[in-house]
């Protein structure tokens, strides 16, 4: 059963002001309805005026994603009633979008590069936000916050060309990184990237899954929906063409009431706004270095593997961090940052920007010098990260090594330790001599325990075999 997935991604642009009025978009720490004016409240008589910065940001995305920008595009009204929509229509774009075509290249599930074609990119305004309060049948009520009303969005629509949830995740990772590199979007902002997905099994009806509010939820939502559809097919149950909502907390999709699907949005051109004739702006737009270009440069400049380069450039802040710490030891910095640090950060849900750069560089230098084992270095890293989380002043790795006595044991002292461990475990030694595999692992473990991880296991194994040869 072939899976066909298409995505619609809404991205909030991080302009200073809203799309059609002068209200600030930075309402995060402020109370409800504090960033509003007659225009974004939809008061009678108000008129929209297009924010040029938002158009430029959208064009920047269009250029970075290789789209074509038609000479003429226009805003349209999408009419529907909902309490978060003050004008009872959303200003969006309909049959004349800002940009058409374009593509994003991702790593295909089958290996190699895959080009995912885009259908279009258009601009629109965000509605307000509903806050549901109270409980029980009588106590329930809903408040409306219009702070978000009028925040600029772009909607990026792909062709139905993704073939698995994993590819969808890769696509979104690449898109998210590109948007971040372009500096037009704030990944820290809640709900700044929202995804709707169209999913079908080849030969069957298409289902739209809405309300995937975090891009991390996409893989889960898609996996659930595909499993559901495959199950229906196996049971010979019909798959109906419908809209389903993703319930993030439960990780399931549920059917939207059919009433909501019967919308006739009565689109027509927004009479209060002149058409956009902005294709001539595109050549003037200067793009920054984008993820693919940076990945290739990392491989060339630092001589690191493609996998490491892809991981390190998949997030702007991570790439910037790597360049700060890599300098003359990229061969250590790359695996440490991509394989170890990233895992530790994800585990702690900690942004890379919080990692103290001098401490991390000092740690890499200790690793490079060979003064601590990898195990100890990880312990030191964890300690530093935890200190940052606890808002303590982090210790320098050198101090930690001294304080905890983590200096790597080697030379005579390690040979002495091995010798005494061998003396204590004569039975295991006998097993080893008798050719029992596993005995050596037990002995290495005992030495590691005795040195509290400060010795290199490979080195210990070698010493053990050397000592027992005699």
């Amino acid at each position: 059963m072939t899976v066909i997935i298409g995505l619609e991604i809404h991205c909030q642009l991080n302009t200073k002001t809203k799309l059609f009025c002068g209200c600030s978009t930075d309402y995060r720490d402020d109370g409800p309805n504090t960033h509003v004016c007659p225009i974004c409240l939809g008061l009678p008589g108000t008129l929209p005026v297009t924010n040029k910065q938002a158009v430029l940001y959208a064009l920047k995305v269009a250029k970075a994603l290789h789209c074509e920008v038609p000479a003429f595009s226009e805003f349209a009204r999408k009419n529907y009633f909902y309490p978060d929509l003050p004008k009872a229509f959303q200003i969006t774009q309909y049959d004349k979008p800002l940009a058409v075509g374009g593509y994003i290249e991702i790593e295909a599930e089958s290996g190699g590069e895959k080009r995912v074609q885009l259908t279009r990119i258009h601009m629109e305004e965000d509605p307000g936000r509903l806050v549901h309060k109270g409980s029980g049948d009588r106590g329930r009520y809903t408040l409306v916050d219009y702070n978000r009303s009028g925040v600029p969005l772009i909607e990026i629509v792909t062709e139905p060309e993704l073939s698995s949830p994993k590819e969808a995740r890769r696509f979104l990772n690449k898109l998210r990184a590109t948007l971040e590199y372009l500096g037009i979007y704030d990944p820290e902002r809640e709900g700044s990237l929202r995804v709707d997905a169209n999913i079908s099994i080849k030969g069957y009806e298409r289902v739209e899954v809405k309300n995937i509010t975090s891009y991390k939820g996409v893989e889960k939502a898609l996996t659930f929906e595909i499993t559901r559809q495959k199950g229906m097919i196996r049971r010979n149950a019909p798959i109906v063409r419908e809209t389903r909502h993703y319930q993030e907390a439960r990780g399931v999709t549920t059917s939207a009431r059919s009433k909501e699907e019967e919308h006739d949005y009565r689109y027509f051109p927004e009479p209060d706004l002149a058409p956009l004739e902005v294709s001539s702006w595109v050549p003037e737009i200067v793009l920054p270095e984008l993820p693919d270009a940076r990945r290739d440069r990392f491989m060339q400049q630092y001589g690191i593997s493609q996998n490491h380069a892809r991981t390190l450039t998949g997030d702007l802040k991570l790439a910037e961090f790597f360049e700060e710490v890599a300098s003359d030891m990229p061969e250590i910095a790359a695996p440490w940052t991509a394989d170890i640090l990233l895992g530790e950060l994800n585990y702690r849900d900690m942004p890379v920007t919080k990692v103290p750069v001098p401490h991390y560089i000092a740690l890499l230098l200790e690793v490079k010098k060979g003064s601590v084992t990898d195990t100890s270095a990880v312990e030191i890293l964890r300690l530093i990260l935890n200190q940052v989380i606890e808002e303590e002043k982090p210790e320098m790795p050198g101090e930690i090594i001294v304080r905890l006595g983590l200096s790597k044991e080697g030379g005579d002292s390690i040979v002495d330790t091995v010798a005494s461990v061998l003396k204590e475990h004569e039975a295991a030694v006998a097993d080893h001599r008798a050719g029992k595999a596993g005995a050596i692992n037990f002995l290495v473990g005992q030495v590691m325990k005795a040195t509290r991880g400060r010795a290199d296991p490979k080195e210990i194994a070698k010493i053990i075999t050397d000592l027992l040869k005699d």
Binding site: T46, F268, P271, D272
Partner: protein
Amino acid sequence: MGSQYSFDHPDPHNAFITICHEAEYGEGPLSGIPVAVKDNISTAGIETTCGSNILKGYIPPYDAHVITLLRSAGAAIVGKTNMDEFGMGTTTETSAFGPTLNPADTTRAPGGSSGGSAAAVASGMVHMALGTDTGGSIRCPASFCGIVGLKPTYGRVSRYGLIAYANSMEQIGPLAGNVRDCALLYSVIAGHDPRDGTSLDLPAPAPLKPEIAGKRIGVPAEFFGEGVDPTVASVVQSGIDRLEGLGAEIISCSMPSMQYALAAYYVTSMSEASSNLGRYDGVRFGMAPDFVRLWHDAYSHIRKTGFGEEVRRRILLGSFALSAGYKGKYYAKAQAARQMVRNDFARLFETVDMLAGPTMPCVALPLGETSNPLSMYLADILTVPANLAGVPALSVPCGTAHTLPVGLQLIGKHGAEDEILSAALAFEEGSA
């Protein structure tokens, strides 16, 4: 600022919805002049209802751009005038605040939808007033009340603060007892406003002087077509003869797109209105909903009780014209017809300077006589073409028929308000 204008007139014609008995005024070209404002133009601190129950109690927190201009020109804003609900009518009878009486004959309607503004001027309560014109709503009552009214070029006057009925066609414009006052008020409100994305940046209006000699004036045969009262036609024809007598060259011409104009106008205006009026849901302003209900029930209750019959009719027809399956047949066809009207004007204006004809096909109608909406719609046939094409047009008194005022309509080229005002002044003063 700081001077007070005491406005203490009785209002026997029900011209006003709100009267400001004490109005502040300042220095400027309109210093101390009382000006009445149609009640669909937002005035900070003064209730603005659009003639509708649904906006009763709504006090805008901001001034429309034209109000800012009026205030800085020193005008005293003395009240908000009656109108057809949301501008939807040709008689001012669809107002939730009762009909306005025509000062020329109080058994008759003043025309609409700016009937209150026209009556306030015609009765002498004020010298000038602001109206709005979506399909003739300034020119119709000007014609029926025997005063002067101008619909400017689309984009010439900022619509910021004008409560929308049909955005792509409407303009705010002046009504006054004579051409000079009309031009004075126009010169104050015309100009570019960055808050209106459709606003034009044109040179300031030129000083007014009578000028008609040598002008080429086209008279489309369709302006005197079927449905035009013969007495009105002959009064206007003699007015056109007077223009010729003043040295204008009269050229017969044709405007075939007229046959589609009315349908194009109504489909477009109702479609836009159906969208514009969606926001009246009782959540943020105006009539408050019953919060015990579910939101969709509260919405439909508010809209059912808050809007009058004509407004509901136009919202429904407009929603239908935009709906899937019918949009191509109605909205899209209307836009094509609208382009034909524009093309006709462009073609005619290659050879003539302006067009002339009757403003309305009839004289003011008796109150209560327009219960049939279709016959009311037909009365707009001569005024809607200028709105469809966005060109300026005015109505200037031309005499009487059946003892009631008749207006002569002059339609100018895009941006040529000065030219039609100069011609109207020459016509009014009888000198070239």
